[in-house]
Amino acid sequence: MKKKFDLSRLTRSKVTWAVVAEVLVLLVCLFVRPDFFNISYQPATGMLFGNIIDIINRSSEITIIAMGMTLVIALGGTDLSVGALVAVSGAIALKFMRWDVIIYNTPGDYSVYPFFLAIVVPLVVCAVMGLFNGFLIAKGGMQPIIATLILMVCGRGIAQITTNGKQFTTQYSPFRVIGQGSFLFLPMPIIITAVVILAVYLFVRKTAFGTFVESVGINRKASHLSGINAQMVIFIVFALTGLLSGISGLIYSSRIMSNDSNNAGLNFEMDAILAVVIGGTSMTGGKFSLLGTVIGSIIIRTIVTLVYFFGIASEATMAFKALIIAVVIVLQSEPVSNYIAKRTRARAAKVALAKGGVK
């Protein structure tokens, strides 16, 4: 009896479908490349090397943003500005390292301003921009999708203006560590991501913040009347998402050792939202799953990797991404999951009946 109950709960849980999808995609990978799961140690870089490591490494930027996006979506909103903030973060970091003056006109292993400024200022600016989103939504009462559309539209303009439209490059080694360094044999982005996941998890699940987010996301008015400061919850969530976009932007620009206001973080908002939704958090807000989001983000990256194996141009991966995402989303959709649950129940009942007959 107990077991049956668990089964129907599993088929109804959206995270389950995400895990199933990931396993399936991985199996296909294994089929295409039998050595898919191999991991080797590369002394040259001091890092472990392998497809799995690469997938997790490359999914870092999206995973980090998606942590914040999960909370935004749990509030019943969406944050479209994250991609633009990634560009802003990179632009400011490079601006501080290169500061457009004559003597620093060639890239090299130096930073004009202290390194911590190049790291802290972008993060603070991104958090403040997130606060701006939060302000429009909490105080202005705007729809999140519209409020964040504003920064999405002008964020890249701001990034351009920061660097006067220039694309700087740098060879400053401490900055390189963020995106290309390693720690404990693992690429630095994985470490950063792990720390972010842990921090966000502790923040939302070991305090009552997660419950407050869910509560406000389901019914803001009732939460307010119950004494929850809904505005503060919104402020914190959007500022946090801004900050996380900033971190993601630093990783991105450290990988390319440059700022790219046009392409940095392009479509990141879409990928992050997809990761959250594939991970089983409903776009209508309410209950959320951070674990699901991490899996969702990894699924997206695994698909991209898989498509590379077939030697398809990088932009075309989108089509395959779309197909697999479509399958996951259709499986998760209410009517289909209800149908599957009904079928499982019916089968269980049949089995029970058959057993009863035998007795």
């Binding site: 009552a208 419950t211 869910e214 307010h224 119950s226």
Partner: protein, 507 residues
Amino acid sequence: MSEQNLLEMHQIEIQFPGVKALDKVDFFMRAGEIHSLLGENGAGKSTLIKCLTGVHHKDAGTILLDGKEIQPQSPQHAIEIGISTVYQEVNLCPNLTVAENIFVGRQPMRFGQIDWRTINRRARELMARFRLDIDVTRPLSYYSTAIQQMVAIARAVDVQAKILILDEPTSSLDENEVQLLFDVMRDLKAEGMGIIFITHFLDQVFAISDRLTILRNGHLIGTYNIEDISKVELVTQMVGKDMDAIFNLKRANVKPDAPYMLKADHIGAPAKIDDISLDVKKGELVGFAGLLGSGRTETAEMLFGVTHLSDGTLELEAKSVKFKKPYDALVHGMAFCPEDRKRDGIISDLSIRENIALAVQARRGFLHPLSMKEQNDLADKYIKELGIATPDAEKKIGELSGGNQQKVILARWMATDPKVLILDEPTRGIDIGAKAEIQRLMLEMCEDGVSVIFISSELDEIIRCSNRIIVMRDRQKVAELYGEMCTQEKILAIIAEGAAAAGGEAQ
């Protein structure tokens, strides 16, 4: 027999996951009859209606309309075969004009285009029939809920249906509007339409129906001519218990020297209430009577910091307090169960446990979380104490019945150990059993020294429970009644005519 009946529903069965919502229910209705459908919440009234309107599909049984079998597939299909419905919540589109709300989907066409002129003209005529003189080209959201409800009825009436279903249409209407609606219903009856009328107000049932059918727990209890049944019998049939046993309640015992718990001195807020003063003693239950929109809810919201005060002072335990937001009130030991449970009370997707712990947690702030054990203890305690019917504390509150949801909201506030508890229509739309239980709980809390402000539209429950009754009318406090003065006739007179007409006892 079957020639006479406009509608026959035979042996209807509907199965929901886990429950049998309707079990072999028969329902017969004649043409030109107003037929009330009665039962407590969860008795199966709405399920029966939704089966008729194609929202739910029956698992067994047959439906005959005019002697022909029908299978309503969808609301659209139901309307096509002549079954038209007005739901409890206004189911119209707020962004469309009044006229368009009446005609959308069946607009008169002219040269392949919508004939706007005819639509507006006919809408004006139709509204005139309801004695409503409004600009039909304004968006529906421009008007009050009562007018919106009338528009919904106008739409349902205008589709030339054979059967009109009115599902609690009167809950947002005042006395005059109810009479107006009854006039229209009588007209329609005379035209031979069959009307199914669902309401919680028993007086209205006796005022307008020809026959009534009672359901309980998905079973048919019986169909009666209105002359053949008394109110007490009716309620007994609905509840299945003896009424007196349920309502055997005693008012709270307030000592004459009890200190004042809450004192509001000439408080007011712009566009809400200009000026109202009131006080509540420790352990006292003060009832608020008055029609919907008379300012009862607005007063409660001012007391709880939902609306900012522009004038006046508020004293709690003889100390002056200022509430900027509900949180401030909560910290000071106030509690408030809002009027609209669905919209303002429950967090539907959260569990009973989380809902109960919410206010306590909000007061502590999110950085000081209640442990899982503390939450479970709270939940278990109140589930037992209030008799919340649920298998466990992890069930979503949205899946509970109305009465149980209300108990959870009550538990949320009881868990904060309030000094003052404001209950705005805590018993609306819940069945009689749960109603009595909530009244009992209120009185018990008074015994424990909590001051309760109790707002209700139902006079008998206010009279039954209150130590003192404040009567509101047109956003003003018009009277304050004690002990023997609290009679139904007196309160009705004050509500209808104002304090002066009722004879000067008012303050």
